[in-house]
Symmetry: C2
Subunit: 190 residues, 2 copies
């Protein structure tokens, strides 16, 4: 029997740095792309509440028990509102993973953080301390950070949920939803 | 070569009758369920702007040329804000169809309209004048009204976009999105 794997894919909406907060969407998807549910919350632009808001959003929902993985688009939401993957995994009990299209450029990130954030040092240390794995795809590679799962299993699940390009469906769908709701029309790629 | 059929499926979010307006979501889906885009707008509860808002939402988007059909969940949005299918079809150039799970009970509808709407007569005449087709599914039947397409072609497209149950994916996905965004968690079936 084929296993019914479910993933929650998370992305935020477009925003301007003067906005106070930003819409965050979680799509619950059964492999490879059957939409079963949508969750939503808001997090502060450049704030500190992303991890707690995600934990609340998922744990308070009826989807808390089902997913085999949480996937987030990048390591932060709403600018530099960092996602603590280890805390997300420990508190929800669901292995957690962030995906980036580009290898993090820590020189650039440090510079941007210094400019925007008084408390940049702690944040920078957190973002730059975890292992980053490179996964090859049919297109360009992706870069992932993981908690609660090993990289070979993470890679297997990513592939199960990827249809076109290199972004898994749960994240791609959340990107389209968040952008379509906030702008009136979804644009571009996550 | 397999034709790449696209449909826009439309549903509104949950609302209370004291709300002024309601979120409306349009999902652009390639058969059977690949999400390509999301559009959104707002219409007045029990208002008169549903048709014009849908025409604007679709015509101003980059998806205006692609879909072979617009599918709406029921004949109205935001309570009794009726969708004029003929106008929607004529102005967008896209054949339009509304789907209901239940055979319209015109006695009940008339009663509800009389209670809520001063201008109920015109609205009731419009809603009760079009042909209603019953389509059998593996589950219960659905009831549709159509403009710009014949019923056999409409039925073929509905089946192409239906995966589970009797509601085609573009409407089912818009229902999940609208409800997940407004409530924080999607619930129930469209």
């Amino acid at each position: 029997m084929k296993q019914k794997l479910r993933v929650i894919g998370i992305d935020d909406s477009p925003f301007k740095f003067e906005d106070e907060d930003v819409l965050v969407v979680g799509s619950i998807v059964r492999a490879p792309n059957y939409l079963e549910g949508v969750l939503s919350t808001r997090v502060k632009v450049d704030g500190l509440d992303a991890t707690d808001k995600l934990i609340q959003m998922i744990s308070n929902s009826r989807f808390a028990e089902q997913p085999c993985m949480i996937m987030t688009d990048g390591a932060a939401l709403g600018g530099f509102n960092l996602i603590d993957l280890k805390k997300l995994w420990k508190q929800t009990g669901i292995p957690s993973l962030s995906i980036s299209r580009d290898e993090p450029d820590f020189v650039k990130i440090k510079k941007a953080m210094k400019k925007h954030l008084p408390d940049w040092k702690d944040k920078f240390n957190k973002i730059s301390s975890g292992d980053i794995y490179k996964i090859e795809t049919e297109h360009k590679p992706i870069f992932v950070q993981i908690e609660g799962i090993d990289i070979s299993e993470a890679e297997r699940i990513i592939k199960l949920f990827t249809i076109r390009g290199r972004i898994p469906e749960p994240i791609r769908m959340s990107h389209i939803v968040a952008s379509g709701i906030v702008r009136g029309e979804s644009k571009g790629k996550p």
